[in-house]
Amino acid sequence: SQTIHQWPATLVQPVGSPLSLECTVEGTSNPNLYWYRQAAGRGLQLLFYSVGIGQISSEVPQNLSASRPQDRQFILSSKKLLLSDSGFYLCACSWKGGSYGYTFGSGTRLTVV
């Protein structure tokens, strides 16, 4: 079965500082990878998804970017954080066949101060 490692669990960063959140996957190869953000009020917003190394699709234009340097590594970045970037960030993966659905990482709670 696939396992997602996501770190750090919590992060407090000042406005204007850079951000790097990392997600790695075990137990599967060539997965689809996703970054979600959950703000207060519980809706899940898809930020980025990737079907392969170097392939990134953005769902919502904003102050964030994503990269996939290796098959099972997905990175969420920002050059300069805004207060509005605060939230709960979740990485997810799915198999290409889609037969087993999604698996989520444990999430990173980001507070921008």
Binding site: N32, Y34, Q38, R42, G43, L44, L46, Y49, F88, L90, S94, G98, S99, Y100, G101, Y102, T103, F104, S106, G107, R109
Partner: protein
């Protein structure tokens, strides 16, 4: 894309009660999942159920794809069942659409 609506938005139960959560979707789906988000924020996959019925302990789920809805049943609820339950559905695209969730509080 697919629209997903969940009801009720909030639910408060006494321990031991049963409940039914509903997920309606606007188009045919090839992927339908139920998740439980625990108080620490982690999303736990409960069921992958694009059609049919599945059971896992006190939880069961039924998806009637032709009528575009899915139901999650929780029997003999416990305080550990508290949290937010999400339904997610996808059709031709492999990217699911999430509902806004049902917030469940189970009192002892």
């Amino acid at each position: 894309g697919i629209q997903v609506e969940q009801s009720p938005p909030d639910l408060i139960l006494q321990e031991g009660a049963n409940s039914t959560l509903r997920c309606n979707f606007s188009d045919s789906v090839n992927n339908l999942q139920w998740f439980h988000q625990n108080p620490w924020g982690q999303l736990i996959n409960l069921f992958y159920i694009p059609s049919g019925t599945k059971q896992n302990g006190r939880l069961s789920a039924t998806t009637v794809a032709t009528e575009r809805y899915s139901l999650l049943y929780i029997s003999s609820s416990q305080t550990t069942d508290s949290g937010v339950y999400f339904c997610a559905a996808s059709g031709g695209s492999y990217i699911p659409t999430f509902g806004r969730g049902t917030s469940l509080i189970v009192h002892p």
